[in-house]
Amino acid sequence: MNSQQWQQRAGGNWISASLGEIRLIAQSMLERGARFEAFVVTQTKAGDLRLIWHWDLKGKLFSVESKAAVSTPLPSIVDIYCGADWAEREARDYYGVTFEGRASIAPLMLRESDPPGVMLRSKGGLQ
């Protein structure tokens, strides 16, 4: 997390990272006293997922961006930031993503019987 790597744009400070770096970054954010803001998932035109973890540190926004195929398991940061639990469960509901490192991931907005991934284009969206 070299400060020179952060780019200022879109209302915050942005950096690209591999999925393998996400937990290290989350741990580093916690040690600095940063507050977990949100986990945003979008689907690119090619069909991949764009993943953005956002933190607030003393009023400044720090956004860490990564990419993954739809079926790629993502690193969970729930054991570092328990507040990320709902964000990860919602990402599962909307984009059908799975997370490594957590015992279970119950739906948040959907019911148990609803199939996850309602925002995925391949699924055709909410029925």
Partner: protein, 358 residues
């Protein structure tokens, strides 16, 4: 004896549908589990299927209490993507309406809290008092719930009689100082019900990602209006109330003091409001790009991520409401408390389950 008490999702004691399962050892709460999603409307999905003009109306319906802040945050995100400069007068009008909305939200909460504590008369007096704020909002916008004030590049309506709004703010501040704050801070019964109850430590507030008055009552000195000033807040003097106790009483006091500060902000904003246009004209699309917009809503920070592909329909709108960030911390607040305090502790969060579910 250990047992689990399920409450909800539809229950006479709940203002909105959600479910809470409380594990108890005798009368003491050992764990709690909250289930949401009973108001799920798929607003993020809908936003990707409507043009940005319709999306403004859609976002205003995320929450029935802080409706203005959602349409404003959405518009401000698009203004950032499109590098649209909002006229100064419109920024001041947005500031005034945002603070009036904070006032009516905090007063609504104060009434609900009074009822939870058992003060029916205070509840009715606070709601009668709240009508003054609603009257001001209605006088400005013509509406009482969805104000339709925001458009991309400014506001739809002017404040034509700023002196009457300023007089209203002075009157509200006087009543809050003279009646509301003394009741909530010196009454023995309120103190006995709230002091030391539902404590959220500073460390837990950070771990759970709490925002707004809940975080500030746990010693987290954060307020986007000051830390990341937007609209006219950088031109206005105001204090950010912070307490370190982290209990229900601290949340009560923080919100009460915030009401006084909101009145101060409204008065200053109206006095400084320059003349000029209200908006930059009709805008139906913005260039490709993305933006994060964070605004200090009454319940805490609201977070929007908006992505545009250059068409008139956004390619992604992510909405994270303050209550979405705050509810998980309730599970930390409840542990170790008496079961009888559970309704008050969860109410002290000032939760809004409908905007959480979106």
């Amino acid at each position: 004896m250990s047992y689990r008490i399920p409450i909800g999702p539809y229950h006479v004691a709940l203002d909105e549908p959600y479910k809470i399962e409380v594990d108890c050892e005798g009368e003491t709460i050992t764990d709690a589990h909250i289930k949401v999603g009973f108001n799920f409307r798929g607003i993020e999905w809908l936003a990707q299927r409507k043009n940005i003009t319709r999306c403004i109306a859609l976002m205003e319906r995320v929450c029935g209490i802080c409706s203005n802040v959602h349409s404003m945050t959405f518009c401000m995100a698009l203004e950032q993507i499109g590098a649209i400069e909002v006229p100064k007068r419109a920024q001041y009008i947005r500031t005034v309406v945002a603070e009036l909305e904070r006032l009516h939200s905090h007063l609504l909460w104060a009434g609900v809290a009074a009822e939870m504590i058992g003060f029916q008369t205070t509840f009715m007096e606070v709601f009668r008092f709240r009508e003054r704020v609603m009257d001001l909002l209605e006088a400005i916008s013509g509406n009482r719930v969805n104000y339709s004030m925001n458009c991309i590049g400014g506001v739809n309506r002017d404040i034509t009689d700023p002196e009457s709004v300023a007089a209203g703010a002075r009157n509200i501040r006087d009543t809050v100082n003279r009646v509301l704050i003394p009741v909530f801070t010196t009454d023995h019964t309120i103190s006995a019900r709230c002091r030391g109850v539902g404590v959220l430590s500073h460390a837990d507030a950070l771990r759970y990602g709490a925002v707004g008055p809940v975080a500030r009552a746990s010693g987290v000195d954060t307020d986007l209006r000051r830390d990341c000033a937007y609209l006219a807040y950088d031109q206005i003097d105001f204090a950010v109330p912070v307490r370190t106790e982290g209990d229900v009483l601290a949340r009560v006091v923080v919100r009460a003091q915030e009401m006084v500060e909101s009145c101060n902000i409204i008065e200053q904003a109206l006095a400084q409001m320059p003349s000029g246009s209200l908006n930059v004209g009709d805008i139906y699309a913005v260039p490709p790009g993305d933006a994060v917009m964070r605004i200090e809503a009454p319940r805490g920070e609201v977070f929007y991520y908006v992505e545009s592909d250059g068409s008139d329909v956004p390619s992604r709108v992510k909405v994270r409401t303050p209550t979405f960030a705050n509810i998980p911390s309730v599970m930390g607040m409840l542990k170790g408390n008496e079961f009888a305090d559970m309704p008050l502790i969860q109410a002290a969060l000032d939760p809004c389950y409908s905007c959480t579910d979106r």
